[in-house]
C-alpha cells in the first residue's frame, strides 16, 4: 500500500531535516504505526494531531530512538544538526538510539516530567551535564548563571534556586524545556504538553513556543486537542489508527474540519437531550466544610446545595478551588469537618457523614475519580477484574445490570463469581465499545480513552441514583468524549442525579442543567447558565465580586 500522498504546503525552498520513510511498528495485537511517512522542516512548529491510540507517541518514540521501527527508515540531516550545535564528534550514524538523538540535539519533553522533585531548578537543569570546577565540585555559581542566562535569552523567567517540588506544573514544564535548551537541543519534541496545564498555563506555553521559534529552534508537538494546532502550529499533520491521514495549514483548517480528519466522521456536537422537569431532591448538602490536609484551612467552605433527580449539576471553577475535595468528601475519600450530607429517598433522609465508603456505595452513589491511574483502576488487573471493583459488594446491582440471577451456595459467598464477572465485562465492553483484545487483557495495556470507557462504563451500568463524576473525559479523544457525554445524558434522562466537575468549561456548559460556580472553596453562584450569564460566570470563576464588573 502506498502511503498517503503528502504535499508540502509549508512554503520555502528548505530541505527537510528529518524524513520518515514508510515506517511501521507493530506491537502484539496492534499496528501502532502503519506505513507512516512525513517530513519535518527546520524552524517550524509542527503539530501532530490525533486521538489516543492514533500512534502519535509511538512515532515520537521512534524518532527519539526509543523504539526501533519494524520496517521503514528515518533519515536525519546530520549536517544541519551539526552546523547548529557545536557538540563534539558523533558516532553510529545509521543506528538511531536515544543517546545519539540526544547528542544530535533532539530533545524530548515528556508528558510525565523527568525531574528530581527535591532538587533545585538549576540542579535539575544541569543534571547529567554538570558545570564543575576542579573537575568534580559542582560550580553552583556558574550553573545558576548559565541557567539565568538561558532563561533571559529565551524570555522564560524562572528562579534557578527554587525547589522543583514547590513549582506549579506549568513552571515544572518550563524547567524541562530549559533543560533541553541547556543541552543545546535544536529540535524540541513536546509530548502532549498541555495535558497537565491549566488554560492559562497553556497560553503561556504557546507564547514560549513562539519565542523559541523566533530564536531559531524547531518544535514538534503532539496533541489531541483541536484548538491547539490552530492556535500555535505552522503546519498540522493528522494521524488516525497508526496512519497519517492528512496534512493542513492552520489558516485553511477549522475545528470542524480537523475534528473530521481526526475521528474520520463528521462530529455532531449536538447532544440528544430532552428537557425534563426538575425532579425531587435526591442529595442534600448543607454547610459542608472539608479541611485541606496541607494548609489546614477549609478547602470546602460552608457549601450548601441540592441535587435533583433528572439533573446534571455542573461545578464550574478554576481547578483547585475545592471542587475535587467537595466531590471526594461526598463519596468519603475526604473527611467532613462540619455540616451534613444526606441522601433523600421520598420521605426518608439518610445522613452520609459517618458512613464508610462501602455503605455510601450501597446507597447507590457512584463515583468516578479525577485521576484514573491513581484512584480509578488497578493497572495490573484485567479489564473484568477492574469492572468487578465497582460491583464487588453490590451483587444485586450486578445481577440487575446483566439480567441474570446467580445461583447462591455456601461457597459462592466467598468465591469470586467468575461467570458474573465475564457477563459484566461483556456488557461494559459492548455498550461502551471498549477496544480490547479480551476481557482478560490487563488494564494497563489499554489506551487511556479505553481505560476511561471501562471506568465510566462500570459505574453507569450500575444505574446509580447519584453519580459523582470528576473530569469524565480528561485525556480522551473526541470519539470517546462523545460516547461518554451521551451516556451521562442517558443516565440523567433515566432519573439519576449527576454531580459533574470538569476543568473543561465547555464540557460543563454543554452537559449541565444547572451550574454551581466555585471559587476559593465557596459557592459563589447557583443557577442555570441563562440565569448566570457567560460574562458573569467567567468573572466569578476568577474571584470577581458581584457588582464590580
Amino acid at each position: 500500500m502506498s502511503s498517503v500522498d503528502i504535499k508540502t504546503p509549508y512554503s520555502g525552498s528548505r530541505t527537510p531535516i528529518l524524513t520518515i520513510n514508510n515506517v511501521s511498528k507493530y506491537f502484539p495485537g496492534v499496528r501502532a504505526l502503519d506505513d507512516v511517512s512525513m517530513e519535518y522542516y527546520p524552524g517550524e512548529i509542527l503539530a501532530i494531531l490525533g486521538e489516543n491510540g492514533a500512534g502519535k507517541s509511538t512515532l515520537m518514540k521512534v524518532i527519539s530512538g526509543l523504539y526501533r521501527p519494524d520496517s521503514g527508515s528515518i533519515s536525519i540531516d546530520e549536517d544541519w544538526f551539526r552546523n547548529n550545535i557545536e557538540s563534539g564528534a558523533l558516532t553510529g550514524t545509521d543506528l538511531v538510539n536515544p543517546r545519539f538523538t540526544m547528542e544530535l540535539g533532539i530533545g524530548m519533553v515528556y508528558q510525565h516530567f523527568q525531574l528530581v522533585e527535591p532538587f533545585t531548578v538549576y540542579e535539575n537543569i544541569t543534571l547529567g551535564d554538570e558545570i564543575t570546577k576542579y573537575g568534580f565540585v559542582i560550580d553552583k555559581k556558574a550553573s545558576i548563571e548559565k541557567v539565568r542566562q538561558i532563561s533571559e535569552d529565551y524570555g522564560l523567567p524562572i528562579h534557578p534556586e527554587s525547589l522543583v517540588e514547590d513549582l506549579s506544573v506549568g513552571l515544572k514544564q518550563r524547567v524541562e524545556i530549559i533543560k533541553q535548551l541547556y543541552r543545546n537541543s535544536e529540535l524540541l519534541i513536546l509530548d502532549e504538553p498541555t495535558a497537565v496545564l491549566t488554560p492559562k498555563e497553556s497560553q503561556e506555553l504557546f507564547a514560549t513556543m513562539r519565542k523559541l521559534r523566533e530564536a531559531g529552534k524547531s518544535i514538534l508537538f503532539i496533541t489531541h486537542k483541536l484548538n491547539e494546532p490552530l492556535e500555535v502550529a505552522d503546519r498540522i499533520v493528522v494521524m488516525r489508527q497508526g496512519k497519517v491521514v492528512g496534512e493542513t495549514l492552520p489558516n485553511k483548517a477549522s475545528r470542524e474540519s480537523l475534528a473530521e480528519m481526526v475521528v474520520g466522521y463528521r462530529v455532531q456536537r449536538k447532544l440528544d437531550r430532552k428537557d425534563l422537569p426538575t425532579g425531587d431532591v435526591i442529595l442534600k448538602v448543607e454547610d459542608l466544610e472539608v479541611i485541606d490536609k496541607f494548609s489546614g484551612k477549609n478547602a470546602v467552605d460552608r457549601v450548601s446545595f441540592e441535587l435533583h433527580k433528572n439533573e446534571i449539576l455542573g461545578i464550574a471553577g478554576v481547578q483547585g478551588n475545592g471542587q475535587s475535595e467537595l466531590v471526594s468528601s461526598i463519596i468519603g475519600m475526604e473527611k467532613i469537618r462540619d455540616g451534613f450530607l444526606a441522601m433523600i429517598e421520598g420521605e426518608k433522609a439518610t445522613v452520609l457523614n459517618n458512613l464508610s465508603i462501602m455503605e455510601r456505595l450501597k446507597h447507590a452513589i457512584s463515583y468516578i475519580p479525577e485521576d484514573r491511574n491513581k484512584e480509578g483502576m488497578i493497572p495490573n488487573f484485567s479489564v473484568s477484574e477492574n469492572i468487578w471493583l465497582a460491583y464487588q459488594d453490590l451483587e444485586t446491582d450486578a445481577e440487575v445490570a446483566t439480567g441474570e440471577t446467580q445461583q447462591r451456595s455456601f461457597l459462592s459467598m466467598f468465591t469470586i463469581p467468575i461467570n458474573l464477572l465475564g457477563k459484566l465485562a461483556r456488557l461494559v465492553i459492548d455498550r461502551f465499545n471498549v477496544k480490547t483484545p479480551s476481557s482478560e487483557t490487563k488494564m494497563k495495556n489499554l489506551s487511556g480513552g479505553n481505560q476511561q470507557k471501562v471506568i465510566v462504563g462500570r459505574e453507569i451500568t450500575k444505574n446509580p441514583r447519584v453519580l459523582v463524576i470528576n473530569q469524565p473525559t480528561r485525556g480522551v479523544d473526541i470519539g470517546v468524549m462523545q460516547k461518554i457525554h451521551e451516556e451521562i445524558i442517558k443516565l440523567r434522562n433515566s432519573g439519576t442525579g449527576v454531580l459533574l466537575v470538569s476543568s473543561d468549561l465547555d464540557e460543563v456548559l454543554t452537559l449541565s442543567d444547572r451550574l454551581l460556580v466555585m471559587y476559593s472553596g465557596k459557592i459563589v453562584a447557583d443557577g442555570t447558565i441563562e440565569e448566570i450569564g457567560m460574562e458573569r460566570l467567567s468573572h466569578l470563576m476568577i474571584g470577581g465580586k458581584e457588582g464590580e464588573e
Binding site: Y26, F27, P28, G29, V30, A32, N52, G53, A54, G55, K56, S57, T58, K61, L66, Y67, R68, D70, Q111, H112, D191, E192, A195, I222, I331, M333, S356, I357, M358, R360, L361, Y367, P369, N373, K374, E375, G376, M377, I378, P379, N380, F381, E385, W388, L389, A390, Q392, D393, F414, T415, I416, K444, N445, L446, S447, G448, G449, Q451, G475, V476
Partner: protein, 404 residues
Amino acid sequence: MSLNIGALAADSRRRRILVLAVSFGLSFLAMIILILVLNILGTSVDIFLVMDKTFFEPLRKPKMVALIFFWTAPLILTGLSVAIAFKAGLFNIGSQGQMMVGGAAAGIFASNIVPKTQALQFMNRPLIMIPATMLVGVLAGIIWGGIPGVLKAKTGAHEVIVTIMMNQIALSFVRYLVVSQTYSPFVDKSTGDAYGQTSAISKSAEIPLINSSFSTFLDWSIVPTILSAIIIWYLVEKTRYGYRLRAVGENISASKSSGINTNFAIISSMMISGGLAGLAGALQVQGNYHKYIFNSEGTLGFDGIAVALVAGNSALWIVISALLFGYLKQGSLNLESSTDISKFLIFTLQSALIIFIAAPLISSKLVSLTEKISRPRNVESEVNGMSQDNGGGTGGEDTEGGEI
C-alpha cells in the same frame, strides 16, 4: 511498593520457568567459576566431588530424598507467610520472629501448660493435642504478625521497620522464656548445663513419623503444610477476600475509593502471614524436636523471603521453590558432612540465584535473546503494545523490554 519482588509474578508461566532455569544456570556457572578461581589461588577442591555430593547424591539415596522434603516443609510455610503479606503490598520481614514465637508457644503449651495443669488433662490425647498445639503456634504467630499490621493500618508505621524490631523482641523474649534458668519455669533444667530448651512435650502432641524405616526425620507435618499451600492459593486467587487483598496490594487508593476496607486487608493479611510462620514453628516442635529448642529455626524464617521471591509470590510456585531450596540445603549439608568442604560454598550458589532472580532483567534479557534467535521476526516482547499512546500513563515498557 517499589520492590522488585512482584516483577516475576507478572511474567507468563512459560517465561517464568525459563527465567528460573536461566537464573539457576547462571548461578551454577558462577559457583563453578568461583571454585576454579579458588583452585588457581591454591585450594584444591574437586569439582566433580562437589557436584556429586551436592546435586546427585541427595537424589540417589531415599533417606536423603526424605530429608529434602523434611527441609522443604517449613520453607513452604515461611514462603507462604511472606507471599500473602506481599499480596497485600506489605513486606513482612518478620516471619523469622513469628516462627520463633509460634514454636516457643507451642513448645511451652505442650510441655508445661497442658501436662502440669490438672484441669486440662482431658486434652491430653493425640486427637486433641496435635491440632491444639498447632493452633497455639498459629495464634502466637497471628499476634506477632498482627501487631505490625495494626500499627501499619492505624498509624502508618512502616511494616519493614516494625517487623525487624518484632524479630528482635521475639529473640529476646523467647530467650528469656526458655534460656534464663533462674526466672523461667519453662526451662528444662534436667539436662544440667544444656539450657536453652523446654522440657519434652507431651507424647500426645507429637506428630508421628510417616515411616520410621524409611526416614527418621520425615513426619506427617508435610500434610498440613501442603494443605496450607492449597488453601492460601485458593484464598488469594479465587475468593472475594483474596481479590480485595490483591487490589489493596496493587493500588490502595483505587481500592479505597471502591469501598474496600483497606485497613482490614492490611491487618488480616499480616495476621495470616504471622499465623503461617507460627504454624511452621509449631510443626518443627511437634514433628522434629519434640521440645522447643532456642534458635532451632536457624534462618528458616528469613529463607522464606527468598522462597517467595523465587516463586513470584504465587502459592503453588512456592511449593516448587521451597523444594529447590530444600534440595540445595540438603546438598550443602551432605557436602559438608561427607567431605571437608564447607556448606557455605553452596550458600554462594543460593545467594547468586536470588540476585539473578531479584534482578530479572539479566535472565529475562537472556530469555528474550534466545527467543529472538528462534523467532527472529516480531518478537512478543514485554513492551506493552497498546499503551503506546499517552493517557495510558502506566505503560510498563521500562522493565523487561526485549528491545531498546
